[in-house]
């Protein structure tokens, strides 16, 4: 590829600026005119005037999530499935119903559609809306949503999503993706060094782009995607963590099962170059586990989660602890999300099944999770970085399951575990939160 089409890391920018002190809904709402109809804008203003803050927040959130999903879907639902490690998604999947709200926020962050701070605020907005949606009548009467909360949610949604007709980050990313399918890099191309030294989320996303193309593209696009895979995989392999290495092995198994001989040959070559056959699964059962885990996470992040996550968690627990390695990270993310709960607590009805699964994990599986999965587990790190209750339950979990002599490969993970063990320390929660935040930030930095 020529220099003018060199690979660059995409960035998200704040396209809509709202003064920090602005709190008047009537000043903020018109900025959403880029994506919402006049009727919608009037309804939002009317909601604020009538002090129906829960109702108006839910409406704004639904509109923002739908807009974000529709923008993400323009990149192709097959690709979205690869990014989310959701084999159940294909080009015919409906983005509005098949992508969960929490998933679209994570995707938008990874694709540079929203900034990290916007992503954090959007996650809070989702939790807030979900919480108020599940309150019973009495609780809703006693503890209504405050105007400040509703305004903050509105500002977040307008700044990050509703104020922009087309997210700049999405266009940058689409351009990057197109380049990987229209030209083949050479091993001495400067772009290779750039990919090698980029933040981990960039490497992970690049890998997902390539594997998605290898699975679905045809003709010249497939040839370029395979050529780039054979160059990029060996270059980033030493940096790849377990889940991403399994992702490559799983893709090889899938294209072979689909009878895609050309793609199989290319991926086999890439795996041979890195001696990566250890990461090729011995069965495709992992898809069953991955789909079950995705259902748990969808229930966890949706409304009425404390009730709704029990059934999918029971299904996941019944699949057993012989979790195929390509699905392990996702299953742990889902189970820990249920176990840790959120700002308001955790699901009593799902807790038992999560506990059964966690109790049956072998020490080696815990070590794999801490060393290979946790540094890239945005869901769990966000819980540990922001909320007190999940941190307290995390401490109990680490105390119970992690051997005192455990030494993490990664110093940042070890720091988190050490902070967790300082339960007698009154500042323990803050210490854990700080270290989880650092781990999360590091995934997006170049170090």
């Amino acid at each position: 590829m020529s220099n003018d089409s060199a690979i660059t890391v995409w960035n998200a920018t704040d396209a809509v600026a709202i003064p920090p002190g602005e709190s008047a809904p009537e000043k903020i709402v018109p900025l959403a005119g880029a994506t919402l109809s006049k009727r919608d804008l009037k309804s939002i203003e009317a909601g604020f005037k009538s002090e129906s803050y829960e109702m108006v927040s839910t409406f704004v959130w639904i509109k923002a999530a739908a807009a974000l999903k529709s923008q993400v879907a323009t990149l192709g639902m097959e690709f979205v499935g690869e990014m989310l490690k959701r084999p159940d998604l294909d080009e015919d999947s409906d983005p509005s119903t098949s992508i969960a709200d929490h998933e679209v926020i994570m995707l938008a962050e990874d694709l540079g559609m929203v900034t990290e701070t916007q992503g954090l605020k959007l996650k809070h907005a989702l939790e807030l809306v979900s919480h108020y949606a599940q309150l019973d009548q009495q609780a809703a009467e006693l503890d209504p949503m405050q105007k400040e909360d509703a305004v903050a949610l509105l500002k977040t949604c307008v700044t990050a999503i509703l104020g922009q007709p087309r997210l700049n980050g999405a266009m940058q990313f689409a351009d990057f993706r197109k380049r990987l399918g229209t030209g083949t890099l050479k091993t001495d191309d400067p772009s290779i060094e750039l990919v090698r030294s980029s933040p981990y989320f960039f490497v992970r996303t690049t890998l997902s782009v390539l594997l998605s193309m290898v699975k679905t593209a045809k003709g010249a696009e497939l040839e370029h995607a395979l050529g780039n895979t054979m160059v990029i995989v060996p270059c980033v392999w030493p940096r790849l963590r377990g889940p991403e290495r399994w992702q490559v092995g799983q893709a090889y198994a899938e294209v072979s099962a689909d009878g895609n001989r050309f793609a199989s040959a290319g991926l086999k070559k890439a795996l041979l170059d890195v001696h990566g056959f250890d990461y090729v699964p011995e069965s495709l059962r992992s898809n069953t586990f991955t789909e079950a885990a995705a259902r748990v996470l969808s229930a966890h992040f949706a409304g009425n989660n404390f009730y709704n996550e029990a059934a999918p968690m029971a299904v996941l627990a019944k699949l057993g602890t012989a979790i195929p390695m390509p699905a392990f990270a996702k299953c742990m993310e889902a189970t820990l999300a249920v176990w840790l709960g959120n700002h308001w607590g955790h699901s009593f009805s799902a807790e038992q099944d999560a506990k059964v699964l966690l109790d049956l994990l072998r020490p080696v599986q815990w070590e794999y999770y801490l060393n290979e999965c946790l540094p890239g587990d945005g869901t769990i790190l966000a819980k540990l970085a922001c909320d007190d209750k999940p941190v307290q339950r995390w401490c109990a979990l680490i105390e119970k399951h992690i051997e005192p002599g455990f030494r993490a490969k990664d110093k940042a993970v070890q720091d988190l575990v050490d902070a967790t063990r300082g339960q007698a320390n009154p500042g323990m929660v803050k210490a854990v939160q700080r270290r989880a935040q650092l781990l999360g930030e590091r995934a997006r930095s170049c170090t």
Partner: protein, 348 residues
């Protein structure tokens, strides 16, 4: 003067160069490969002929490269001595059917692990024999399989072949695979390139497998009539009112990837196997369909006069079909009961 002769030493002498160029350098593996080749020439259990595919490799881990995402059934370990090949085939050959194949992987200097693995996950998946091929042969592996009566073919990761014929016929490569390829190409000749490209290797593999297990058959390729009506010359037989559309079933299965479409494809394959085991000619279309079976061709007066009086009925029918190439058929194929094949294709 009494004299005894065995192919043991001459075969080993011939094989060793191929085995070395395949990336194997262990003398114990040489012996195992030689013995497997000899046994597979005409392998039988309870007098039933068996055609297992045996993959020999240097590490069990290499199996993941050959058959990613598929099950493996470890049967045992064998000392790499004169009895190893017999032990392996005795324990595994009857199980190596319907996508299962035998693997033998060296685990120590004088021991090999053996068992079964899914060389073909689904009927339309890429086969381990295809995934084995790697231009530089980095991961050594040898596939040993029967390719006709007393003929065994070996293939390595560089796609190089070695054919061992335990007959007095002049040494040639096994024509079985080449003849099936000729027939398959004719049977897909009117398909669009995009549909033909993935379907052709599937059809070829299906026919190779099914023809190896049938008791001899005659196949022909005929351009499907536009009105679907049975041509008069095929009236003595079963002309399908709705052709068996393997190409569409294959395309549906690979596109939808669901259990129903896979079951439909396998159901079509079962019907084809039954047709191949029937008497008469099986007639394929040029578009990946089967048009009819149990069709008995009758020579006209001129053909009767020109016909050879040598050979059996199947041979004479094949000659009849060969004579009608161009005017009626696009290709004709004959497989005798003892596994010998012949194929004639228009323009070849």
């Amino acid at each position: 003067m009494n004299k005894v002769f065995s192919v043991r030493n001459p075969l080993q002498g011939e094989l060793v160069e191929f085995v070395r160029s395949s990336g194997f350098s262990c003398p114990h593996m040489d012996i195992l490969i030689r013995d497997l080749v000899c046994l597979l020439g005409n392998y039988r259990e309870e007098d039933v002929p068996l055609f297992p595919e045996v993959f020999v490799m240097l590490s069990v881990l290499d199996l993941k490269g050959l058959a990613p995402g598929t099950e493996r059934l470890r049967i045992g370990a064998a000392s790499l001595d004169d009895r190893a090949a017999t032990t392996i085939l005795k324990n595994c050959a009857t199980l190596a059917v319907r996508g299962w194949a035998i693997y033998v992987a060296k685990v120590s200097e004088k021991t090999a692990e053996f068992g079964l693995f899914r060389a073909l996950r689904y009927t339309f998946a890429a086969h381990a024999a295809e995934l084995m091929v790697q231009g530089d042969g980095t991961n050594p592996a040898i596939l040993i399989r029967n390719r006709g009566y007393m003929v065994v073919a070996l293939r390595n990761a560089r796609a190089e072949e070695f054919t061992a014929a335990f007959t007095s016929a002049p040494a040639t490569e096994s024509p079985f695979s080449r003849h099936v390829t000729m027939l398959t190409q004719a049977a897909c000749s009117s398909m669009a390139d995009s549909a033909c490209e993935p379907f052709l290797p599937y059809m070829q593999r299906l026919l190779l497998d099914q023809l190896q297990r049938c008791h001899g058959t005659l196949l022909a390729v005929y351009a499907p009539p536009t009105d679907g009506a049975c041509p008069v010359q095929f009236s003595d037989g079963v002309w399908l009112s709705a052709p068996l559309d393997l190409a569409t079933a294959y395309a549906t299965a690979t596109n939808t990837k669901n259990a129903d479409s896979l079951a439909a494809l396998q159901a079509n394959e079962a019907l084809l196997a039954g047709m191949l085991n029937s008497d008469g000619v099986v007639v394929f279309g040029t578009n990946g369909t089967v048009l009819g079976y149990r069709i008995f061709l009758k020579p006209d007066a001129q053909e009767k006069e020109a016909a050879s009086h040598k050979g059996g009925g199947r041979r004479r029918t094949f000659e009849l079909m060969r004579g009608r190439l161009g005017t009626e058929f696009k290709a004709a194929f004959c497989c005798s009961q003892d596994g010998e094949t012949e194929c004639a294709r228009l323009g070849s």
